[in-house]
């Protein structure tokens, strides 16, 4: 049990953190932002991290914001997953994050750390992916900027090097109007990485959207799949079968399950979710 060979910094302001990142880079260090540290410390222990300095963001007050801010719900990036669930400002987000890891670990994992995880899952992204109004508040060299989530999401949330997430917002009306279901399917144990995690939402106009984690090496939503799921002329089982056949990526084959098994589980889970969503309305 050797200490990780890391330098530790805990800035008090957004500017301090952003400037520090560049200063450390200029000094030939390899900084990384640090939220809950559950992934960084695991990687560091396995010598799998390209970093030698951590910038702990938890000292910055703006990153702890957790409120209805005018018409928007705002979630600071260092909020722990248990804080999100306890406050339950957006039940769809609660239902999704409450199935990540275990309770003690959820008290350590931060929202920002999950959204920017280097692992394939990033399950906290799913509710934001199915909403139209998700925005990111980002620290950049030119100050604090707003970015539409849809504009920076390309298999992952892509920020410029050195930029970091301050908070995520969604429109409160949109969030409230989404009827939702969030299901995580694991191979065997309740606590595990997902075989597939699915977030589905039914919008006010009756259309359905779904976002998936675990199916491929990144979370995604697909307009083609959403269109199939929204065709209520067909029974849920048929839509689920067609949706799985129309997925834009191949289902991964890994230790959690074979590609075929993933497809099978996704299909029956989707069918069940559609039935429950439609029964709800």
């Amino acid at each position: 049990m050797m200490p990780n060979p890391l330098h530790y910094y805990r800035p008090d302001t957004i500017t301090e953190a952003r400037d520090l990142f560049e200063q450390l880079q200029r000094a030939n260090q390899r900084p990384t932002y640090y939220g809950g540290g559950t992934e960084i410390l695991t990687r560091s222990r396995l010598n799998d991290g390209d970093f030698d300095a951590v910038i702990d963001l938890k000292g910055i007050p703006e990153l702890h914001v957790h409120e209805q801010d005018g018409s928007r719900l705002r979630f600071g990036s260092v909020l722990r997953l248990t804080e999100l669930a306890d406050r339950d400002l957006w039940p769809f987000l609660t239902a999704t994050v409450d199935r990540i890891a275990d309770h003690t670990t959820r008290g350590q994992i931060t929202l920002g750390g999950n959204l920017f995880s280097t692992l394939p899952y990033k399950e906290a992204l799913l509710p934001f992916l199915v909403s139209d109004s998700a925005d990111l508040t980002v620290a950049t060299p030119d100050g604090v900027k707003q970015r539409r989530l849809a504009d920076v999401f390309d298999e992952e949330l892509r920020l410029d090097p050195g930029d970091f997430l301050i908070s995520v917002t969604v429109d409160g009306q949109e969030a409230k109007a989404l009827a939702f279901k969030s299901f995580k399917m694991t191979r065997q144990d309740w606590i595990d990485y997902p075989l597939v995690t699915i977030g589905t939402a039914r919008r006010e106009d009756g259309s359905i959207r779904a976002a998936f984690s675990g199916w491929s090496s990144f979370p995604f939503t697909s307009s083609r799949v959403n269109k199939i799921l929204s065709n209520t002329q067909k029974p849920p089982e048929e839509r689920a079968r067609e949706a799985v056949a129309a997925m834009p990526f191949h289902a991964v084959d890994d230790i959690h399950g074979s590609s075929e098994y993933r497809q099978f589980v996704t299909q029956y889970t989707l069918a069940r979710m559609l039935k429950e969503l439609e029964a709800q309305s």
Partner: protein, 157 residues
């Protein structure tokens, strides 16, 4: 801004006492607690990967896996380890329910059970199950552990 780039002294409160310890910047709380300066070996290294919960301690009354926390993060905060439990009801409950075999996981489970016992108003069987899922017992004495924790976490059923 706090910065630690070499071994340095930091302060926190451990089991109700203020303590000053010299730490490396990248040291985990588990490492610091078990080191010579504090010698609190109740928190156990198991997986050191966040999976087993043998290293669980309380930080400001909340269970955390101490292998997944850097010690500088908990500067000036209140840490409770199993050594800090003095005649806590959870300890008697473990004895009454024979809730340990080899004992390696016990301190971690005790800390989760103790945290639950401090919030009985919100206690329920579901909550107990959910919190206990954070810890692994290789001897598989889960039923006895659940019974012991339930008796202090939701004593009225």
């Amino acid at each position: 801004m706090k910065s630690l780039t070499r071994p340095e002294q930091i302060s926190f409160n451990v089991n109700g006492e203020p303590r000053d310890v010299v730490i490396y910047p990248g040291e985990t709380l588990l490492y610091t607690l078990r080191g010579d300066a504090l010698g609190l070996t109740g928190a156990k290294p198991g997986c050191e990967n966040g999976d087993c919960g043998a290293c669980t301690v309380l930080v400001n009354e909340i269970p955390v896996k101490s292998c997944m926390v850097l010690t500088p993060e908990v500067e000036d905060q209140a840490i409770t380890t199993v050594e800090g439990l003095q005649n806590a009801p959870i300890q008697q409950a473990f004895l009454d329910h024979n809730a340990f075999q080899c004992g390696y996981c016990t301190s971690g489970f005790l800390m989760v059970g103790h945290a639950l016992s401090q919030d009985v108003d919100n206690g329920s069987p579901e909550r107990t199950v959910e919190w206990l899922r954070s810890n692994i017992c290789r001897c598989t004495g889960y039923q006895e552990i659940y019974d012991a924790v339930s008796s202090v976490a939701h004593p009225n059923g």
